[in-house]
């Protein structure tokens, strides 16, 4: 296909394109816009997310282990990752004599580029998605994240180091095992939604908490957790971090890497953490929508007002609403990333055979049952698959029963209440741990610890 066709064959322009160019940008304008968008918005945003993730992981680890974590560079140590990046840039680019010269250099790129490309279809907001037209969005993310794993395997093999090869073999095996429950859990969500386009997924769940796909039926609720476990393993996060288990394999697949190439693997890992959180958010947790469905209610109306009279004010309101949606989406993703970090500093690491067979003997049959159950459920309990706020009012049981969907409404509300209750319990738990942790830390770091109101030194301890 000639390049001109590729560029011009883009369907409807996005909101920002229409704001900047009027209603239909010329092909070269669209291409220029994409270039500027990637270079000026995407590269910095993805880098920021990865660097923030690395800082946050160290901070979370510190607090869980009753330490402070990085706090020297910048406020709260926020610039620690920038300092580390600069340091790594100044380091020597080493390559062992026995390593494969081509593959050793190629591997970091293979790990880095897909993590970046996966951000392409993440629906940050109804109008702020880099490529909203991709109708295989979910599949695209899964495909590119599998390529990232290839980078890791290649890195381990090309290093020609025993630690690295062990790490690479484990990664290969673990990835191929957990890809199966991961894929089937996503299938359960896709079945309920009926689309692979991630922006459409967001629109479908815009009616408030009970229209989110996780609460669609009991099987999607379970699939959410199956997806979470499998995504941990396929992104080699603890407790499934066997490819780089630093207590036995030195550093696993990246033992021989140094300098910037080493940092690319970390960059890819933290970017991928956000991406798998993003899939989970857009497929199960309602994407950019808030629990009350306000964004889903306001957006079509504001968009229509802007389309009818494209003025500064109406465009500004639409822009502000989209920014709020981005905030909601990022908040949900970061909550999932936080749980991933929390688990890393809580759970011990299993053996490789336990990891593999837990997947093949437990998760795989479980996910097959989920798939079957979800299909049967959809046949027996008719669901509301229309667009909320346009064809019906999602908070009004009357609208649901008019469509003959009252059973689905009751089930979704009950599941949503269970889910909200569980979420509040976790929030309470974290808050409690945070408060008691502060007390413990104060006791540990106090130069003169106090026992029952009397300084220990005075008691003679």
């Amino acid at each position: 296909m000639p390049l001109a066709t590729l560029i011009s064959d883009v369907g409807a322009p996005s909101f920002m394109e229409r704001v900047i160019f009027g209603h239909s940008p010329l092909p070269w304008q669209a291409a220029l816009y994409d270039c500027v968008l990637v270079a000026a918005v995407f590269l910095p945003a993805v880098s920021l997310i990865a660097m923030f993730g690395i800082w946050w992981e160290r901070k979370v680890a510190g607090h869980i282990q009753s330490r402070i974590g990085p706090n020297r560079v910048g406020p709260f140590g926020l610039l620690q990752s920038v300092a580390d990046g600069l340091k790594l840039l100044l380091k020597e680019d080493l390559r062992p004599r026995d390593a494969d010269p081509v593959l050793f250099r190629l591997a970091p790129y293979l790990a880095f580029t897909p993590a970046f490309a996966a951000f392409l279809v993440l629906p940050f907001a109804p109008d702020f998605t880099f490529e909203p037209r991709l109708n295989v969005g979910v599949f695209w993310v899964l495909a590119v994240l599998s390529v990232e794993v290839m980078g890791v395997i290649l890195a381990g093999w090309a290093s020609n180091n025993k630690w690295s090869v062990y790490g690479a073999m484990r990664e290969a095996c673990q990835m191929v095992s957990y890809e199966i429950p991961l894929g089937i859990a996503i299938l359960v969500g896709v079945m309920a939604a009926g689309t692979l386009n991630m922006v459409k997924l967001g629109v479908l769940q815009s009616g408030g908490l009970h229209t989110w796909l996780i609460f669609r039926n009991p099987f999607t609720l379970l699939a959410f957790f199956v997806y979470f476990v499998a995504s941990l393993a396929s992104n080699k996060r603890a407790p499934f971090d066997l490819p780089e288990s630093e207590s036995e394999l030195v550093a696993g697949f990246h033992t021989e890497y140094s300098g910037l190439r080493f940092s690319f693997f970390f960059f890819a890992e933290y970017a991928a953490m956000f991406v798998i959180g993003g899939i989970q958010t857009s497929l199960f947790l309602g994407g950019w929508n808030d629990p009350l469905g306000l964004i889903g209610y306001l957006h079509p109306r504001l968009a229509q007002a802007w389309a009818a009279h494209p003025s500064m004010t109406s465009g500004l309101w639409l822009f502000v609403l989209n920014c709020a949606a981005v905030g909601m989406f990022v908040l949900k993703c970061l909550s999932i990333v936080f749980v991933q970090m929390w688990l890393r500093w809580t759970l011990p690491r299993p053996r490789i055979d336990q990891v593999l067979y837990a997947c093949i003997k437990v998760l795989l049959p479980l996910s097959c049952v989920l798939l079957l159950g979800a299909a049967l459920w959809q046949l027996l309990v008719p669901e509301m698959a229309l667009q909320p706020w346009a064809q019906y009012r999602p908070w009004n049981p009357g609208d649901w029963s008019a469509h003959g969907r009252l059973a689905a409404f009751v089930v979704q509300c009950v599941l949503a209440m269970v889910g909200a209750g569980a979420f509040m319990a976790v929030i309470g738990w974290v808050a409690y741990a945070w408060m008691t942790g502060r007390k413990i830390k104060q006791r540990l770091t106090d130069p003169a610890p106090i026992a029952d109101g009397v300084p220990l030194a005075a008691v003679g301890a």
Partner: protein, 146 residues
């Protein structure tokens, strides 16, 4: 109400048919990502020192002189797990289009195909054939490590 649906792209997308995909921005993004990585590494090659030597270039093996070669035989279990993967991963790829139309099939109730029931039966047959391979492998002791 229908006027609402003609506004943004995201709403157009909901009018039933999926819109045309565009792959040009994707190619563009990948090119820029690779370019970013290449420029960074080139910068580090220019800025960073390059003082190498025989000791520095040696493969790391916990500070010892490396013993033997790395390219050795591996436990066959790893390969068997990969074979099982082949059985199921291909299955999942084929199930994606099925899952994408399943909700639509259920919604369009027609008497001839039990309202989407036929879709379910087709999937069951497909999965059952693969499960035969799975249980055969289980019976053969493929899932025992020792």
């Amino acid at each position: 109400m229908n006027g609402l649906l003609t506004s943004g792209y995201f709403l157009l997308a909901d009018q039933g048919a999926d819109p045309k995909s565009s792959w040009a921005p994707i190619v563009l993004l990948i090119l820029i990502a690779v370019g970013f990585a290449v420029v960074n590494i080139a910068a580090s090659l220019i800025i960073g020192p390059s003082r190498t030597g025989p000791g520095k270039e040696q493969t790391y093996e916990s500070g010892m002189v490396p013993i033997g070669d790395t390219r050795r035989r591996f436990n066959v279990r790893f390969y068997i797990v990969a074979m099982i993967f082949l059985v199921f991963d291909v299955e999942i790829v084929f199930l994606y289009p099925w899952a994408a139309i399943f909700a639509k099939g259920v919604a369009q109730k027609s008497g001839s195909d039990f309202g989407g029931g036929m879709l379910l039966v087709e999937m069951l047959i497909f999965v059952a054939i693969l499960l035969v391979a799975y249980f055969y492998a289980w019976g053969k002791g493929v899932f025992r490590w020792d």
